[in-house]
């Protein structure tokens, strides 16, 4: 499974692997909704993701906005592969759609 959700005690860990694109978009949305519904803080692990397309970026961005709106945090767990950063930059995002930069 490219997408997994681990419910920890205080934190939800969302792991994304491989290509996260339109084929996984609906799954990613459900996963993020479940994580948001848990009421816990969230971490996204992108270490083994190879691609984030528009659908993934806008979902992560929306989830981030949602989390902040309800006073929780959505953070990156660990480093993000350089090519993903480049892709996000190419997509015209000033910063990564999730993470500390916007807090």
């Amino acid at each position: 499974m490219p997408l997994t959700l681990d419910q920890g005690e205080a934190v939800c860990l969302i792991r994304l692997k491989g290509e996260i694109d339109i084929t996984t978009a609906a799954d990613l949305k459900n996963l993020l909704l479940r994580a948001l519904a848990s009421g816990k803080d969230m971490c996204v692990d992108l270490e083994r993701a190879t691609e984030l397309d528009v659908t993934a970026l806008q979902l992560l961005w929306a989830a981030d906005r949602e989390a902040r709106g309800s006073g929780r945090s959505l953070k990156l767990a660990g480093p993000v592969p350089a090519e993903l950063l480049a892709a996000v930059n190419n997509a015209g995002f000033e910063s990564f759609p999730i993470g500390s930069a916007r807090e």
Binding site: I22, L33, L59, R65
Partner: protein
């Protein structure tokens, strides 16, 4: 997820269309070879490459996109007059085209493309264009020629000067579903120069309401590039009708009105908004309802193919199924007609007639759907001729006639191989080297003429060359040597030429790469026979050879004439039938027992089907002659009774009867019985052949032997 499938479907559509584009590219390249200064053709080649690159990248065929990108750049140079069209460039481009083809085949799981070949082609291309790497050199150079250089702002700046463009791009809501990845478009823009991108997330709804497969992002970009507005809008070529896009030059104070320098051919899809003072991002209202119509699977601009704009793409298998069903319907209708006739009920008869009328119309339109002009098949051979001429060091020009002649798709599909073999044969054996031709007082450049023409229910396809012709004596000697003919046989020229069609027959002393193995003509014969066609070869020593293929228009349903002989029913194609006349006992006696009839002063030899098929029922007092037009002239077929016209659904007789040449199939009649479909040409041919020793000019010879001809 269903999306995986959807995307696969788009990929499939892409592969299919890419093949078509390659055909277009090939014809453009070959035409360019003839007219190296035709800018229209340069544009065509460039656009084809651009399309392949762009859509290839969009569907994740990165290798393909990279490869075609380099080629595209070369043609951009050509288009801009910086690179000259040479034979070398054309040949290299053709090789590249083959490589693209191989990549496509690989992508659809057939065969593999050798990446070594790609590298080699690209290396040669670089040498030709004189650039280290056409693409990167250009991109890297652009930003360094500082965006604030005075030239940049000048609208009159020559091509090559970098300037700033403001681009706003709001994808339509369906963009992603059509398999387009907007990020790839941005990446492509980035390759044109230096790009600053700002995404707007304003339209993203709360995550709960968010449709995960819809693009909510909008982009605003400033691109500094030396490329033209046209080149920029070309990036969006596939999404133009499903997005909002504005491309405006960034105006610096004092610069002229931007509209003035809009290229004449600016795309109508691009709305060039007046230079708005506020640089705000596109309003975040759900303004993303740009175009009502849904873009095609992978959006081709409608303006590319105006005449195809309203056409749809249907898998051939569906069409076959449709025609099959119509065939069944026709058969059932015949049954209904039969029942109606038996019941003599006026009401039923009316309905039955009405249904007959409708099925006829339905049948005609279903067949016409499958009819395609043969042009695409013909055009394909330009490349073959070009390549072979180069390899064989011969000068050959391919001319065509009647390329718009329409044929059933299934026939066209099978024609490629036979025509290819015929052309190869002509090029290799038929056409002499230029010096030989000069010595013989001919033009050094030879001609191969492809033509297609309707003839009744058949199509005649000819491959004619003006080469040396077939050496009948050599063929004869070889036939005797191979035991195909007796050493003392009296053979007509026609019969001799027919030996060429025998398997493994070759007079070539040397087997070349191109032909000479004696396989080719056998393939031609088999294919043509499988199509229920015939082959006719004529040749004149010193002035060329013409091979004529006579093929049925369709393999599905024909208009036939139902006839009865004794208890047996036969169908003769209506298209070849000229008239029906009566044949009485007296007429037979008048002809002194010869099988000829006098029709308005003309002598018509005839074949009695009763005798031919050995039907042993009492001969009626009055019989009927169906006069048919055949390749060998007018011939009659004597039957007991002509029952009327019949919509004939052709059914194959199966493998066992494959060798029965006189019969082109069978059909099911209204009462459920089977009638054989006769082929008048073959019947006559066979009859002429069986009159042993007939020497050439069949008709007169056959006339005198008409009796014998009819068994």
């Amino acid at each position: 997820m269903a999306n995986e499938q959807t995307i696969d479907k788009f990929k499939q559509a892409f592969l299919e269309e890419a093949r078509e584009i390659l055909v277009e590219l090939e014809s453009a390249l070959l035409a360019l070879n003839e007219n190296p200064n035709d800018t229209e053709l340069m544009g065509r080649a460039f656009r084809a490459l651009h399309t392949i690159k762009g859509s290839g990248a969009m569907f994740g065929f990165d290798e393909l996109a990279r490869f075609s990108h380099n080629l595209e750049n070369a043609f951009d140079e050509v288009r801009n007059g910086r690179l000259k069209v040479t034979a070398e460039l054309i040949n290299l481009s053709l090789a590249a085209l083959d490589q693209i083809k191989a990549m496509l085949e690989e992508a659809s799981g057939r065969g593999t493309a050798d990446s070594g070949v790609s590298a080699e082609i690209l290396a040669k291309l670089r040498r030709l264009t004189g650039k280290s790497d056409t693409h990167h050199a250009a991109t890297e150079a652009a930003p360094s020629s500082s965006p604030s250089s005075p030239l940049a702002a000048s609208p009159a700046a020559a091509v090559g000067a970098a300037r700033d463009w403001q681009i706003r791009f709001s994808p339509g809501s369906d963009l992603l579903r059509t398999g387009t990845n907007p990020l790839l478009l941005l990446r492509e823009l980035k390759q044109m120069g230096s790009l600053r991108t700002k995404a707007s997330m304003a339209a993203i709804p709360p995550i709960g309401e968010l449709d995960p497969e819809r693009c909510y992002l909008r982009w605003e970009m400033v691109l500094t590039t030396s490329s033209s507005r046209e080149a920029i809008s070309d990036v969006f070529i596939f999404v133009a009708d499903s997005c909002e896009l504005t491309i405006e030059p960034v105006i610096e104070p004092g610069a002229a009105e931007p509209a003035l320098e809009m290229p004449a051919g600016a795309k109508p899809e691009i709305t060039v908004a007046p230079a708005a003072a506020d640089q705000a991002l596109i309003p975040d209202a759900v303004a993303a309802k740009p175009a009502e119509k849904k873009p095609p699977p992978w959006g081709r601009r409608a303006s590319d193919t105006p005449d195809n704009a309203s056409s749809i793409r249907v898998p051939a298998a569906k069409l076959d199924q449709f025609v099959d069903l119509v065939g069944e319907l026709v058969t059932m209708q015949a049954r209904l007609g039969e029942i109606a006739a038996r019941h003599e009920d006026a009401e039923v008869a009316t309905v039955s007639e009405e249904i007959e009328r409708l099925t006829t119309a339905l049948r005609e339109s279903s067949i016409s759907i499958r009819m395609l002009p043969i042009r695409a098949t013909f055009e394909r051979f330009r490349r073959l001729v070009h390549d072979l001429a180069r390899d064989l060091h011969k000068e050959v020009e391919l001319t065509m006639e009647g390329a718009d002649t329409e044929l059933d798709k299934s026939v066209i599909d099978e024609l490629n191989d036979p025509l290819m073999h015929l052309i190869r044969n002509s090029m290799d054996h038929g056409i002499e080297p230029a010096d030989r031709r000069l010595a013989d007082g001919k033009r050094p450049s030879a001609t191969i003429h492809l033509s297609a023409q309707h003839s009744g229910a058949s199509v005649l396809i000819r491959v004619a060359d003006d080469g040396g012709g077939i050496n009948a004596e050599a063929v004869r000697a070889r036939a005797i040597e191979k035991g195909l003919a007796a050493a003392d046989a009296q053979l007509s020229e026609n019969e001799i030429f027919n030996f060429i069609l025998a398997p493994g027959f070759s007079t070539a002393k040397q087997i070349t790469d191109v032909s000479g193995r004696g396989v080719g003509m056998d393939v031609v014969r088999r294919k043509v026979e499988a199509l229920r066609g015939t082959i006719d070869i004529t040749s004149k020593a010193g002035s060329g050879t013409t091979v004529t293929l006579r093929l049925p228009l369709t393999l599905a349903i024909i208009d036939g004439l139902l006839v009865r002989v004794g208890e047996a029913h036969f169908v003769l194609p209506l298209a070849t039938t000229l008239e029906c006349i009566e044949l009485t006992r007296q007429d037979i006696e008048k002809a002194n027992g010869k099988h000829v009839a006098y029709v308005r002063g003309e002598i018509i030899p005839y074949i009695r089907l009763r005798e031919y098929f050995n039907i042993k029922t009492a001969q009626p007092e009055r019989e009927q002659i169906l006069v048919a037009e055949t390749e060998d002239g007018h011939y009659g077929f004597v039957v007991d009774q002509v029952l009327g016209d019949h919509q004939t659904v052709i059914k194959n007789l199966g493998r066992f009867y494959r060798h029965v040449e006189l019969i082109s199939g069978a059909t099911i009649l209204g009462n459920g019985s089977v009638a054989l479909i006769l082929d008048p040409h073959r019947l006559v041919r066979e009859a002429l052949r069986s009159t042993a020793g007939s020497r050439s000019d069949g008709r007169t010879a056959a006339r005198s032997r008409a009796k014998g001809a009819a068994v």
